[in-house]
Amino acid sequence: MSVLAATCLIPFVGFLIILCLPRKSNAAFYTAFGASLVAFFVSLALIPPALANGALFTSVTNQIWLDNPALPIRFHMGVDGISLWLILLTTFLLPIAVWAARSMIKERLRTFLAFLLLFEFGVLCVFSALDLFMFYVFWEIALVPMYLMVGTFGGPKRGPTALKFFVYTMLGSVLMLASILYLHSVTGTFDYVEMMQGFTSGRLMLTGTQQTLLFLGFFAAFAIKTPIFPLHTWLPDTYTQAPMPATMLLAAVMSKMGVYGLLRFSITLFPNAAQDAAHWVAILAIIGILYAALLAFIQPNIKRLIAYSSLSHLSFIVLGIFTLTQQGADGAVFLMIAHGVSIAALFLLTGYMEQRRGSLEIADFGGLASPAPGLASAYMITLYASIGLPTLCNFIGEFLILQGAAIVNFAWAGWATGGVILSAVYMLWMYQRTFWRPKTEQVAKLPDLRLRDWVPVVPLILLMLWLGNYTQSFMPPISSATSRELQQNKASQEYRVQLKHPRTVHVAEVLRAH
């Protein structure tokens, strides 16, 4: 079994074990924590081969899954420079989420942990799937535990929120399923690698209309999952109602499924449609950046504010991808990781605040830095990472994305950079009203972070510093993978010309015949 398959399977095994455990026991926590930690350490073995050449798929498993000549579905997984860090981000964040869940989930912890591991299993398979049908299956598998986590462990409005979240994202994925099936009927395969070989060799070809329709079908799923403005209205409610460990994973990992899909499938499988759409998607992304930032500005609830801020940053990633430039794509992938780390830390620390105060309304806070200096310091670092202070992680990603945007259209960079200013405004204003100012009576006695609270925070902060200061440990495999994707995208321009050429000849011949 390849390292990748083992990484994906370990959480599933953990999930099965937890299901067999008695209801009230600490064993569930140890199993979940152990399984996610083992998965993390195993996944580290993916790094060396991917570092050697990020453009190739390594650690490949390729077996027939459903032996049906009509629907040849394969179990085909592999990892390249793009998926590598996303897989590692997931395996890195899961032990942290499990650790956080232990103190933040009061009842039915065992069930929650089981969902967490099932979620990890689904997401890891999504990031490594190279067969489109398999990709779809795990795309849905990852959704179900998240839906259940929101629906059973969420806040007071969890019922309608979870339903909205589920129906909304299902709607997108059904369109994607239809597109996948149609793509199969055209190309005769579900296998991504096979398809790409077909396209680059010229053996397979999609007409302009086919590309546009398929692009839109996939785009529906990815745009809702990310989400892209104006398909975002499920996000603030879901993020706010979800229990904090689930919110962490929603923002840090699940949102990346959408942007990952855009980068992996949309721009390579349907290159011409992607090029045609790039302009419009980029504009939607820029609207999303500014719109979400302006909405974050006036939110009275911390969690909701961070939810909107996350939306703003995710729009940066979309913008980066659809600049279709090297810097933009590199920045997008890097920001996927950086945003994952910083937003997870932000929600984790916000969870500690909720635990202490019992509320996340900004008005209920004030002067928290006096009784809890440790929490205030950790929050400050994370906040600055999130608003893009150089030397911390997000800056690199946003800088590269904006630079890519500036290459394509300087006005895009101008508008999008406005989002960078606004992020400082709303985050600092929130920080001032919660941690600074004179302390109120209710806040004065709240405890600072204890050792077990620090345990998940410290690795996150160290990673933020590492990402921001020694970027080149992460960037080379990303660059090689994105440059391959972009080449595949650009190469298609030539065969579009070829595609049109025979057609015009054909029409001319028909005319002559008459």
């Binding site: 104006p230 430039t325 090297q326 150089p390 030397t391 200013i421 100012r437 080149q472």
Partner: protein, 615 residues
């Protein structure tokens, strides 16, 4: 030569004090805090003596920070003559202010936090001036902004301090907007961010293709400078930044950080020299800021606010200097300003410390006898800033004004009159604090030697700093300085001395003159006293509308009502109503199904008949 050692000491101090400071005794905190800067100064001196005479820049390549596409950014540090001057100012003046802080902050809680942030500031400031590419400079730029934010908000439990910290950061971010766009444009134009490679690219670039884009780059970067160096229109944060502890005002908001904008323009002089338009804009912003903020300084009661507006005004002079191409004069004034303005603030701090936090000039007075050392040193600083002959600013400010005289006469006259206004308000504060009778309640006393020793050293530098041959040292990079113009110098000195005399008349000879005068010009005084209502204007014209639009239009209107209400839930309703219609078809009653089958068959026959039957 290991240039990375220069910033590494303050970074180490930051890490040690940041992690363990809370559990360490104060003496140890001070040792790491002050010692790290001292080591850094020592290493700067050693490095410069090794690199002497520094005719070619020395660069150390350390590691590749970021590579993507054609973008390649290294962690590379460079020392040239301009950087050498800045390094000595930062570590030298920085060390003095660190020592002073031992005394000033001694009784404050959060002593370790103060030194932690102070060391971090020195680290980032050193990165800023050592950076050999624009992105690393931006790292330092943002880093010093962060430290400024943290230190202005040092008294975070205070409403005003926390507000001021936010304001400083956010206004600077607005400037960074321009800075970032400038960086992007540089990258698109030159495909590199290294200063040396940019200069090389520029020399081969045809003038016609470059002119427009270079002007754009320079103006965007200028926007960044106006934020950091508190120039119009982004000067509004600096007066409020005085909410931080006084050593912070001295080091960050007078001597070093706020000069970063001037430094950047001087660093990019090879770019600015190609764009006369941008240069002119720099000079105009500088001269207008100098005059504008000097008038506000006239009517402030808070001693630190007086000096804050004076800082903005002096930075305006530096902008004027670099804007008219007198880069070495601008940097020279940057240096002398670092001496006398740091001294002014530290002296003010000494007074504030003695009066248990009192900053209002109306409750000072007569401190001359009680605080002799502070009195004498502040006198030196006040004389220096007024441009009295042979004091430091006499050489530096008049070098700028001489250059302005030959560049554009109106700029010179505005500058010269402003020099008079400057000496008036500086001496107004000086007389109000040290002469007359004491109007407060505290028992004033002279500060301890930890605080007075740095005052004395800075006083010596403020008096004699003009004899340091900075202009000829920098002539290597910026070309020889313009000849001194005696007429220009005489006029500005006359203005300066006139200002002192009027202040002396108003506040010593006939103290009743000042209130009578303010009454006579009533509305004008109110306008100036309220800082021309710029803060109120910004609040009502920008902040409030933005909030209202976000809240009412975007959140309640677009997000909840339009997209979610009409769009998403509307879709839901639509589906439900269609579902209702379909439910009608699936009633479960056989008779109904029969009816539908019949209707369907008839319809099919009809349609096929219409199109000509099935073939």
């Amino acid at each position: 030569m290991h240039l990375w050692l220069i910033p590494i000491f303050p970074l180490a101090g930051f890490v040690i004090n940041g992690l363990f400071g809370r559990r360490m005794p104060k003496a140890l905190v001070s040792l790491f805090g002050v010692g790290s800067v001292a080591l850094s100064l020592g290493y700067v001196c050693y490095a410069l003596s090794q690199l002497w005479p520094l005719t070619t820049p020395f660069t150390g390549h350390y590691y590749t920070w970021l590579q993507s596409g054609f973008l390649q950014v290294g962690f590379d540090l460079t020392v040239d003559r301009l950087t050498a001057v800045m390094l000595l100012i930062i570590t030298g003046v920085g060390l003095l202010i660190h020592i002073y802080s031992i005394g000033y902050m001694g009784h404050e809680s959060g002593y370790d936090r103060f030194f932690t942030f102070f060391n971090l500031f020195v680290f980032f400031m050193l990165i800023l001036v050592l950076a050999s590419n624009l992105l690393l400079l931006f790292v330092g730029w943002e880093g010093v902004g962060l430290c400024s934010y943290l230190l202005v908000g040092f008294y975070y439990h205070d409403n005003y301090s926390s507000y001021s910290a936010n304001k400083a950061m956010i206004v600077n971010r607005i400037g960074d907007f321009g800075f970032l766009l400038g960086i992007f444009l540089v990258l698109i134009t030159f495909h590199t961010l290294d200063f040396s490679k940019m200069a090389a690219e520029l020399s081969t670039m045809p003038v016609e293709t470059g002119a427009g884009i270079l002007t754009m780059i320079c103006l965007l970067l200028l926007a960044g400078s106006t934020g950091k160096s508190a120039q119009i229109p982004l000067y509004v944060w600096l007066p409020d930044a005085m909410a931080g502890p006084t050593p912070v005002s001295a080091l960050i908001h007078a001597a070093t950080m706020v000069t970063a904008g001037v430094y950047m323009i001087a660093r990019l002089s090879f770019l600015y020299n190609h764009t006369p338009v941008a240069m002119e804009v720099v000079a105009i912003i500088g001269v207008i800021t100098a005059a504008f903020s000097a008038t506000i300084g006239l009517a402030q009661h808070d001693i630190k606010k007086v000096y804050a507006y004076s800082t903005i005004s002096q930075l305006g002079y530096m902008f004027l200097g670099v804007g008219i191409g007198a880069y070495s004069a601008g940097v020279f004034h940057l240096m002398t300003h670092a001496f006398f303005k740091a001294l002014l603030f530290l002296g003010a701090g000494s007074v504030i410390h003695a009066l248990a936090g009192e900053q209002d000039l109306r409750r000072m007075g007569g401190l001359r006898k009680k605080m002799p050392i502070t009195f004498v040193t502040l006198l030196c600083a006040s004389l220096a800033i007024s441009g009295v002959p042979y004091f430091s600013a006499y050489f530096s400010k008049d070098a700028i004004l001489s250059a302005a005289y030959s560049h554009s006469l109106w700029m010179f006259w505005v500058g010269a009159v402003t020099a008079g206004v400057t000496s008036f308000y500086v001496f107004r504060a000086f007389f109000l604090a040290f002469f007359g009778t004491y109007r407060g309640h505290e028992h004033a006393h002279e500060s301890s030697w930890v605080m007075t020793a740095p005052l004395i050293v800075l006083a010596v530098l403020s008096v004699g700093g003009g004899y340091i041959p900075v202009m000829s040292w920098l002539s290597l990079g910026f070309g020889p300085a313009a000849h001194e113009n005696t007429i220009a110098m005489d006029i500005s000195v006359a203005c300066g001395i006139l200002g002192i005399v009027i202040a002396w008349l108003f506040y010593i000879v006939r103290p009743s003159l000042a209130p009578a005068f303010t009454r006579a010009i009533g509305p004008v005084y109110t306008l100036v006293f309220n800082k021309y209502y710029v803060d109120e204007l910004n609040h009502n014209a920008i902040v409030r509308p933005l909030k209202a639009i976000s809240d009412v239009v975007l959140w309640r209107g677009v997000d909840e009502a339009l997209i979610d209400g009409v769009g998403v839930n509307g879709m839901g309703r639509l589906i439900r109503s269609w579902g209702g219609l379909l439910r009608w078809f699936q009633s479960g009653s056989v008779r109904n199904y029969g009816t539908w089958v019949l209707i369907g068959s008839l319809l099919a026959i009809f349609v096929f008949g219409l199109v000509g039957g099935v073939r």
